[in-house]
């Protein structure tokens, strides 16, 4: 059935309405029609099996409807049902087939009556969702272990439970012309900047895209600059992280169907802070945070510094070490860049395989990988053992980044730096870093400079960037950033 007809108002004929609904959903077999009579009036309930909560629908149909009596003759039967039905369920009147179909697809149950030009839509959505489990990507030792799941209402509730405040506001909208995905923005009214809220809302409403299957789609569609290796929106599956960011005045964007919520505006340093930093002692957390920045440096520049010093700056290596390196590399037929590329690419392959392969064969691959790429490659004279150390250290370092997608960007850029260092040594590395940092200085996330608070410099906030400031000194309990 085409759209012009389905946008029609519903008629007084129950059978015709049911037929139209059925036709506009292509007679899908999971569509359920329950016919019954209420006080002599023919009625029907329509829903999609699997999208509804069976208990609620059962209560609605059997306990609520069948005990009804139309005792006020002046009002229409529909009005009376609307005010008498199960009180805990949200009810809405609808008058076009199009609205009804959308409501059915969102998991609502529709009640249609003979001789009525309106229908009632009961919010009965439910069905199977994954339970709230520990997040798989951002793990903490100490701290809450609940993570978001694929249901937007659960996710919103998880955050609401942490901030019991009337200023915690939520706005929902549907995005995606085909998928009609539910998207919600949540912020602390009064703390979040109004112009940023407006900008987030405006960009979400301007999305003109057919399908939204994950928050990554939204991220791509609302970020300022698409061509950058750096993520300009933060994502997390931890409710405590989202709550902390909301308290700082940021805005969270939830997307139905994914456990990853987005946070805007984002700065680069957010990716290197773990929620756990705030649950441990200040000195410990500060040390760990510094360690993470050192790891960032190693995972970015590790192989390139090795290549540069082996290729260009041998005089910078202490002589005994240089001699030992030279004797190791004697049997290696390749230049340092090729050697590093072989190892790095194999390491990336191993890592990617580790994520994609079925869990059952995980051990086999890691043993083979470690043996083949470690010892055997050195013994076969393909790479030097120093290179294995460098690559292993680099690889491990990149896992210290709490945010996976920031680590991915660093992984990608590492290869670019390796080429620069192979051609121009430290000068190449220095030039590449100037280029990269200049690029980052030019990035903005919803108006916020990407490298703030480092530049533009905000000394107060910098206290909580590279180290973690203590709670005692602050008058409020908010995390600054």
């Amino acid at each position: 059935m085409n759209k012009t007809i389905s946008a029609d108002r519903i008629s007084t004929n129950l059978e015709m309405n049911l037929h139209e609904i059925k036709a506009s959903l292509g007679s899908s077999s999971d569509l359920v029609f329950k016919r019954f009579t209420l006080e002599g009036i023919q009625a029907a309930a329509v829903y999609v099996d699997g999208l509804i909560d069976r208990h609620i629908v059962h209560d609605l149909l059997f306990d609520s409807f069948f005990s009804l009596t139309f005792d006020v003759p002046s009002k229409s039967p529909l009005e009376q049902i609307k005010h008498k039905g199960l009180s805990s369920i949200n009810v809405q009147s609808m008058s076009t087939i199009n609205d009804i179909v959308l409501a059915i697809l969102s998991g609502n149950t529709i009640l249609l009556l003979q001789q009525c030009e309106e229908a009632l839509s009961y919010e009965t959505c439910g069905g199977e969702v994954r339970p709230v489990t520990e997040p798989s990507s951002q793990i903490v030792i100490r701290g809450p272990k609940d993570g978001f799941n694929e249901s937007i209402s659960t996710n919103v509730a998880l955050v609401r439970r942490r901030i019991k405040n009337s200023n915690l506001w939520l706005e929902t909208m549907q995005v995606g012309s085909v998928t009609h995905t539910e998207v919600a923005i949540m912020y602390l009214n009064g703390t979040a900047k109004q112009e940023i809220i407006d900008e987030v809302r405006r960009r979400l409403q301007n999305i003109d895209y057919e399908s939204i299957l994950e928050s990554g789609y939204i991220e791509n569609l609302i970020e300022e600059q698409t061509y950058t290796p750096f993520p300009t929106l933060f994502n997390t599956e931890r409710p405590d992280t989202v709550a902390a960011h909301i308290l700082e005045g940021r805005i969270a964007v939830f997307v139905d169907g994914t456990p990853f919520a987005l946070v805007a505006p984002t700065t680069f340093f957010m990716f290197f802070q773990s929620a756990e930093d705030y649950y441990h002692r200040t000195d410990v957390s500060s040390g760990i945070r510094l360690l993470r920045y050192i790891s960032l440096f190693i995972s970015m520049f590790g192989p390139s510094i090795y290549i540069a010093s082996i290729t260009f700056h041998q005089e910078m290596i202490p002589t005994p070490l240089l001699l030992s390196l030279a004797s190791q590399r004697e049997s290696v037929p390749f230049p340092a860049l090729v050697e590093a590329l072989i190892m790095e690419v194999s390491f990336e392959i191993l890592r990617e395989a580790g994520i994609r392969m079925p869990r059952a064969i995980g051990q086999a691959v890691s043993i083979v990988g470690a043996l083949v790429l470690g010892q055997a490659a050195v013994q076969a004279g393909i790479v030097s053992s120093a290179m294995v150390i460098v690559v292993a250290l680099t690889g491990i370092s990149s896992f210290t980044t709490p945010s996976f997608n920031a680590a991915l960007s660093i992984r990608l850029l590492r290869f670019a730096v390796m080429f620069c260092s192979a051609f121009l040594g430290f000068f190449g590395i220095a030039m590449f870093s100037i280029l990269m940092i200049a690029h980052m200085c030019g990035l903005r996330s919803f108006g916020e400079p990407y490298l703030s608070p480092l530049t533009p410099l905000r000394p107060n906030e910098l206290k909580d960037t590279f180290v973690r400031r203590t709670f005692k000194r602050s008058s409020s309990n908010r995390r600054p950033n």
Partner: protein, 370 residues
């Protein structure tokens, strides 16, 4: 779009001014070749530097919305302003290219003996073009990041030198190097001109500041800080190398750093000096390049100066290669002709502008009285 206003904070100005002042001056022996008391000359040159900066600030304050080419037009009129502006433009281009050349040559002399000068200079110029095409605000933010890197490198280097035990305090005496005239002549005009009078290039920046009232204090702080650090660096070089090597070496800081050996562990800190050179020169050159772009855009009424980054960068690149056949010729140029031009552009022209400005003001007042 949100928050895209191009403004520069005084902290950013401070960072870039310090990096600009360091330039190549931080890694080579500056001033007259024969003088070894450069550290003293730098301190002696500081009052002059502050005075000169006051002059630039004064001129700008008369026309708070205009960059240097704009107020020259206002002060001396459209006809005389063209040759003045073009000579400033030409000099800035030349000086930017000198910086590029110096960095390239020093890198080749120290590490990259098999890499062509053209490759090194091109790399630097391309990165500069990218940064400037993003806007001058990005350059200033970048400076704010890199001032921290420079401070970190500087402090590490300084600590390593002091713990190496290579400093010989007797090298400091006689304090004037035997000839006071030499010390004074190094300060005025040599060190006053290079690097202090080069702050004239910031005349193209002042109107972009978000708080231009603070620029006076910021500049003073930058001059004092960079002057003290330069003096310290030159002093340390003298202490470590001794009179004879210090005045003769082309890349004196590298020579200084290469003698360091702390507990057989910290021995090869050459990378620090290299990074210092690359970073400082990059910022100095980029600021000159921006000054050229701004004046060019103002003279020829080009609204979007960011587009000029590529042409200006390419001109500077080729000029850096062709301006001298060899590094000795390049340094010779620096000691002689460049100094004269520097004096004409950064001292003579501003003084001339000041005179004309006062004359006009006096005449105007006389006319009002009569």
């Amino acid at each position: 779009m949100l928050g895209n206003k191009q403004t520069i904070s005084s902290k950013q100005l401070l960072s870039l001014m310090i990096l600009f002042e360091f330039g190549t001056a931080i890694v080579v022996h500056i001033g007259l070749e024969s003088n070894h008391a450069t550290w003293l000359s730098i301190l002696i040159a500081l009052p002059g530097a502050l005075l000169l900066y006051g002059l630039y600030r004064y001129l700008y304050r008369q026309y708070p919305d205009l960059i240097v080419s704009g107020y020259i037009r206002k002060i001396v009129g459209p006809y005389l302003s063209w040759p003045l502006n073009l000579s400033i433009l030409a000099y800035f281009i030349y000086n930017a290219s000198r910086n590029l050349r110096e960095a390239g040559d020093l890198l080749i002399a120290s590490v990259y003996d098999e890499t062509p000068l053209f490759i090194i200079n091109t790399t630097m110029a391309l990165v500069m073009i990218y940064v400037l095409s993003k806007g001058v605000e990005v350059l200033f933010r970048l400076a704010q990041v890199y001032i921290l890197v420079i401070l970190f490198l500087g402090i590490t280097g300084l600590l390593a030198v002091s713990f190496s035990g290579e400093m010989e305090f007797s090298n400091l005496f006689p304090i004037n190097g035997g000839d006071w005239r030499n010390v004074i002549q190094t300060a005025y005009p040599s060190i006053l001109l290079f690097p202090f009078s080069e702050l004239f290039a910031f005349s193209t920046i002042f109107p972009l500041l978000n708080n231009s009232k603070e620029a006076g204090r910021t500049g003073t702080a930058a001059i004092l800080f960079s002057g003290l650090v330069l003096s310290l660096t030159q002093g340390v070089q003298l202490l470590v190398l001794g009179n004879s090597i210090y005045v003769r070496s082309t890349f004196s800081l590298l020579t200084t750093i290469s003698v360091i050996n702390v507990a057989d562990f910290l021995q090869r800190l050459d990378a620090i000096v290299m990074l210092l050179l690359i970073i400082c020169v990059f910022f100095k050159m980029s600021l000159y390049c921006y000054a050229v772009m701004a004046i060019w855009g103002d003279l020829f009424r080009i609204p979007n100066t960011n587009k000029l980054a590529a042409p200006v960068g390419i001109v500077i690149l080729f000029m850096s290669i062709f301006s001298a056949w060899s590094f000795p010729e390049h340094t010779d140029e620096g000691q002689r002709s460049s100094m004269v031009m520097l004096f004409l552009v950064t001292v003579a022209i501003p003084l001339f502008l000041l005179l004309v400005h006062f004359a006009r003001k006096t005449f105007r007042r006389l006319r009002e009285v009569s």
